[in-house]
């Protein structure tokens, strides 16, 4: 187990810069999720930590040791791949035992280690099968077992759940979280799925365009997104973003929106509020009058999309809420949970003290 430090890490191919001078300190035993849309540089960053990609500049330290010039096998880290990366001609047992075979562990000892690792991911009954005889979820568990059989200094996981179906994804996610907690191994996990990031991470690094936009706990990035990109990327449905302006401590936007805000900023601003921080009320109540654009039932809630002066706001109403399209409602904003952004810099404006 070890901490991983990235210093001014850059990766460029010709004119294209995939990762731009990024620094990131991952603590010993931490579950770090790199989150971002495709092409944001998250996988490239992970592959540089793995040693599968050579950084253009910058340093990678694992456990305080600079590993830039070390081959992947010398870095003592294990990786789980998106398409599993299993050895198709080997049995499950040989797949899991391969790292130990390379380390010269004897047959009997290896078999015991394979069994222990396989039992941890509930694969004990499949040891003699070939990967092609397993389901997607089982294959990914073989990859996990192969990673945990040796106690590496760190785990790297490259979108390990994205080839699984929705139901399996939820259960495997829980297994990964439990395993990481049990083993306490530093883990870097790459995903484009914000739910995975929120549920798994100790801390999340949200990336876009080769840069880390925000680094923080899942609560931080959800409640206090650092910029408009993070605000729009995290959350489903996404945070409502309304363009307007701030005068004398009040944010106003077309459609009669006017709320008191606690920022010192004046002039053009973007107000962000999450759907669950908007309350749907009978017409005439609340801060804003709105008309229902559409209503969607999700089971655990009712999503209401309302039209406010041409802008659409989505609000999460009680699961029992019912109303026809076009009917008038009132919306109340939870002013303690507002985010204000500067439309010029796209950055979040902090509350005035």
């Amino acid at each position: 187990m070890a901490a991983i430090d990235l210093h001014d890490l850059t990766k460029a191919w010709g004119n294209f810069t995939a990762v731009k001078r990024q620094s990131l300190a991952i603590r010993d035993g931490e579950f770090m999720v790199l989150l971002g849309p495709s092409g944001c540089g998250k996988t490239t960053t992970m592959r540089m930590i793995a040693g599968l990609e050579e950084p253009t500049s910058g340093d990678i330290l694992i456990g305080g040791q600079r590993v830039n010039d070390l081959a992947p096998r010398e870095r003592d880290i294990a990786m789980v791949f998106q398409s599993y990366g299993l050895y198709p001609h080997m049995t499950v047992a040989d797949n899991i035992g391969y790292p130990m075979k390379l380390r010269g562990m004897g047959r009997a000892e290896r078999e015991a280690a394979v069994r222990a690792a396989a039992d941890k991911v509930e694969l004990g009954a499949f040891l003699h099968r070939k990967p092609r005889e397993l389901s997607g979820g089982q294959r990914q568990r073989v990859a996990l077992a192969r990673a945990i059989i040796r106690r590496p200094r760190a785990f790297l996981m490259d979108e390990p759940l994205s080839n699984l179906d929705a139901k399996l994804r939820v259960s495997t996610r829980a297994e990964i979280k439990h395993l990481q907690h049990e083993l306490g191994v530093t883990t870097v996990y790459v995903t484009h799925d914000q739910i995975e990031a929120m549920t798994l991470a100790h801390r999340v690094a949200v990336m876009q365009g080769g840069e880390i936009r925000q680094l923080g706990t899942p609560e931080d990035i959800y409640d206090q997104p650092a910029d408009l990109f993070v605000a729009g990327f995290i959350g489903s449905p996404a945070m409502n973003l309304l363009a307007g302006e701030i005068q004398d401590g009040r944010f106003t936007a077309p459609g009669g929106i006017a709320v008191a805000v606690r920022v010192a900023h004046r002039g053009a601003a973007v107000l962000g509020i999450r759907p669950e921080d908007l309350r749907v009320l009978p017409p005439g109540q609340g801060d804003v009058a709105a008309a229902i654009y559409t209503v969607e039932l999700t089971g655990e809630a009712t999503l209401v999309t309302a039209d406010v002066g041409g802008a659409r706001l989505s609000a999460r109403a009680d699961r029992g809420f019912r109303a026809g399209i076009g009917s008038a409602i009132g919306l109340a904003l939870d002013t303690s949970r507002l985010s204000i952004f500067d439309p010029g810099t796209t950055l979040r404006i902090k509350d005035a003290p």
Binding site: A50, G51, L52, A71, P72, R73, I77, A78, M79, F81, Q82, S83, Y84, G85, L86, Y87, P88, H89, Y98, P99, L102, R103, R132, A143, R146, L156
Partner: protein, 292 residues
């Protein structure tokens, strides 16, 4: 009903073509192999004599036995050399790079040279007095000075192998490169992460995954090597002695130098039977359903 008739009608031209150009000549040569027919005695095929030609070939013909040994030796060395070189080159050319792309682009050139011309070029290069290879070999390794490459029984066969490998290696390299390009990248990277050195990745992951492609290359090359003819004619003429007489060259000699059409057909059919066996094996490999 009319459509059913029509579809068979439309097949007729192709069927006639295959029948007339392939199946008919094959059938004729097959029946000829059971007849006594020497052009020196008669222009029409003689009487049927059963398996006599085949029995002669199997029991009482040192020329045939020699050609069989020569062909087997040739195939063994040629196929091994081609496979090893093609695999090695493909692994070297696999990595992205300007030099690699350029090399890949010119790889097809040797294959564009006609095999007869390959034989003639090699005959000049291995000429005892003015051959560039003769000179080069002697300059690099003095004990080889003055070796008459095409005059030595073993050396002549090796030169023949060399000329054929020169022609085929680049093409087979392209085939192996295609196989390598189709391999998923993750298992190899997983092996590197698991702690494998590059040669262990090659042995444990890459080669097993490449095995189907290598099998196909091996079988194809065996088929082509078994048919070795052009360079024998233009490079060694079967000599010295009969040390480079391959089966295909023997068939040609029996038919068009000794005019024994019946016996030539029989030897040709022995060769054809081997080729057909390999072709069936090859087809099975290629058409086999890939397992996920």
């Amino acid at each position: 009903m009319r459509d059913r008739t029509l579809k068979y009608l439309l097949l007729v031209p192709a069927a006639v073509l295959v029948l007339g150009t392939t199946l008919w000549p094959l059938a004729v040569s097959f029946t000829t192999s059971f007849r006594d027919w020497r052009l020196t005695r008669s222009v029409t095929p003689g009487p049927f004599i059963g398996f006599e030609h085949y029995i002669t070939a199997a029991t009482d013909d040192p020329e045939f036995l020699n050609a069989l040994t020569v062909t087997a030796t040739f195939v063994l060395i040629d196929v091994t050399l081609t496979l090893v070189c093609a695999l090695g080159l493909a692994l070297l050319l696999r990595r992205a790079g300007v030099l690699q792309s350029l090399t890949r682009a010119v790889l097809i050139l040797p294959f564009a040279v006609s095999p007869a011309l390959v034989g003639i070029s090699f005959r000049f290069m291995f000429n005892a007095e003015m051959g560039v290879f003769t000179w080069l070999a002697g300059a690099v390794f003095p004990p080889l000075q003055g070796v008459v490459w095409l005059g030595d029984r073993s050396a002549a066969l090796l030169v023949l192998v060399f000329s054929d490998a020169w022609r085929w290696v680049p093409y087979m390299t392209l085939v192996v490169l295609g196989g390598l390009a189709a391999l998923p990248r993750e298992p190899e990277e997983a092996a590197r992460m698991d702690g494998a050195r590059e040669w262990q990745v090659l042995r444990d992951v890459t080669l097993p995954a490449l095995l189907p492609v290598l099998a196909i290359v091996g079988i194809l090359k065996t088929v082509f090597a078994l048919k070795m003819f052009d360079q024998v004619v233009t490079l060694t003429g079967g000599g010295p002695g009969s040390s480079t007489v391959t089966l295909a060259y023997l068939v040609y000699s029996i038919a068009f130098r000794w005019y024994d059409m019946g016996y030539a057909s029989a030897v040709a059919w022995i060769l054809t039977a081997m080729l057909m066996g390999l072709a069936v094996w090859y087809t099975r490999l290629v058409l086999r359903k890939p397992d996920a």
